[in-house]
Symmetry: C2
Subunit: 312 residues, 2 copies
């Protein structure tokens, strides 16, 4: 099962971290960009080739220390077809290095269309009677729940059929997440609590050998109090925690999304790792050329930070 | 402004319809598939080439009678990179025929990432200082509101800068849409009412010369009572209405999303047009080879049906 593989990889590397691969072009060091622009031109293709090179060097530098990476689809779609080729190549390269790949796409639609999205990333596409092919192939996908269960069911079906996982948005890390998610219903429950109840219920049939489900949730590190409550509602959900570092969440804040067994959450860091070479912490130690080593140093620092907050 | 262009095209063609281009491979007539599979193989490329041919023939047959088309991204992503090439080619072909293109992607994310999605479809992508390029180029995009205003703002910004539009999910057409959207808050308002209030407010700065905003909403034809209420809350929003035909919504149901000026909504039909040649209504009149003519006949029938319900 997806969730068992994720947990085993987290335990093996003793690191509950996922590195977000959100490669804005301004994150990419000049020497990589210049090389790509020279070969392919200052265009979507050149930018995408620069991103592929950047991602691969990052992956090479961190794959033995982190269990998973999370490419954010928006940062590939913004380079069009070429960008999606970069996404696909990044996913394949990460998998070849033994990393679990969580595509962050926040896909959502009504039943039959959700099915198409699910086939795109988790399942298989039928070409002609009996002939199927994989479109993109990742281990898990983030999904957005505004449409209710019939927009989620097709993803859950493919999680079962193809050993995949999903993470459903519950309480997001952004400032205005409360505008909808914090509304309180007549039953005195906030929307994020209601959603958490659904995630708990929907995930039950996909519970693996460690007691966690392949149907997980997204809860931002920037809302630690809500995280504590949500942790108790969704006992078996693995929680993907964005918002650490650049967005202001601390390791202590993240700890609220874990269970007492030290499991139950995986914390995302994107910019702080990708741009470690530009950060106050590392810029004096690493030049731009050594960006991948800076990323590794930040991964190790974060790992220690999280494990300390978790008391291990 | 986007919304003025949309209204003028609706008026010119006297048809408040958008044709959904959701080309599942089983919708594509055998003679098109066989030709494509023979040339490109029974694979993602072959399927995508079949879809391009199918879409172009459909567009050729209906472009003078409908103002807009709405390709659903899921049905292109499911064919991977090749599928996205088909999406791009479909959009470009539709635009070359004077059609307005609404990409149905229900994109959503936190601020900076929403910005990347917005650049992908509505704005422009920066390659290197000053050099920009368009990734995909459509006229409008559907977006999902679970994350609140900071996930919507970047799209609105690009609507302003690039003359584009968005349609925000408010009350979707699927059966389980109520699971989240119908929850009633302490203030005795349903989530879809609250969302409608936001759409009304967010859209004000983008109001065009006919009194409508480039920030529209999605309200399913399958919920006609809710549509009436939502119409009154979002006075200036153009409402994109899915659910007509195959999903059970009637022209009368759709009429609830229009204002007294006969404007204010555009009704989507996908399967009923694409698969008209298979339908009870048309299958005796049109063979599979004449699928595009069947689609045109269905477009004309639907136009009459809607205009009758609107009393014109």
């Amino acid at each position: 099962m997806f969730i068992d593989r994720l947990i085993e990889s987290i335990q093996e590397k003793n690191n509950p971290t996922v590195v977000g691969l959100d490669p804005k072009i301004e994150y990419v060091p000049a020497f990589i960009k210049e090389r790509a622009f020279k070969e392919y031109g200052k265009n979507l293709k050149g930018a995408s080739e620069a991103i592929i090179a950047f991602n691969k060097m990052l992956i090479d530098s961190i794959y033995d220390e982190v269990p998973a990476v999370k490419p954010q689809l928006a940062y590939y779609e913004m380079y069009g077809i070429e960008g999606l080729i970069a996404f696909d190549e990044t996913c394949k390269y990460a998998k070849s290095k033994g990393l679990i790949v969580i595509a962050d796409g926040k896909r959502n639609d009504i039943g039959t269309t959700a099915e198409a999205y699910s086939k795109s990333f988790l399942g298989e596409t039928e070409i002609d009677d009996g002939v199927t092919q994989k479109a993109f192939d990742v281990d898990a996908l983030t999904v957005s729940p505004y449409l209710g269960i019939d927009g989620i069911k097709p993803f859950i079906q493919d999680c079962t059929n193809f050993d995949k996982g999903i993470f459903i948005l519950v309480k997001t890390s952004n400032k205005s997440s409360g505008q909808l998610q914090d509304l309180v219903t007549e039953q005195c429950k906030s929307i994020y609590e209601v959603m958490a109840g659904y995630v708990h219920e929907w995930g039950k049939p996909l519970t693996g050998k460690y007691g966690y489900s392949s149907v997980g949730a997204v809860v931002g590190a920037t809302y630690p109090n809500q995280a504590k409550l949500l942790r108790s509602i969704m006992k078996n959900a693995y929680i993907l925690v964005p918002g650490y570092g650049a967005q202001g969440g601390t390791a202590r804040d993240c700890a609220n999304s874990f269970n007492r067994d030290g499991l139950g959450a995986i914390v995302n860091a994107s910019r702080s790792v990708m741009c470690a070479y530009k950060s106050e912490t590392w810029k004096n130690e690493y030049t731009e050329e050594k960006f991948a080593e800076a990323a590794r140093a930040e991964v190790l620092r974060m790992k220690e930070d999280l494990n300390a907050a978790l008391g291990r």
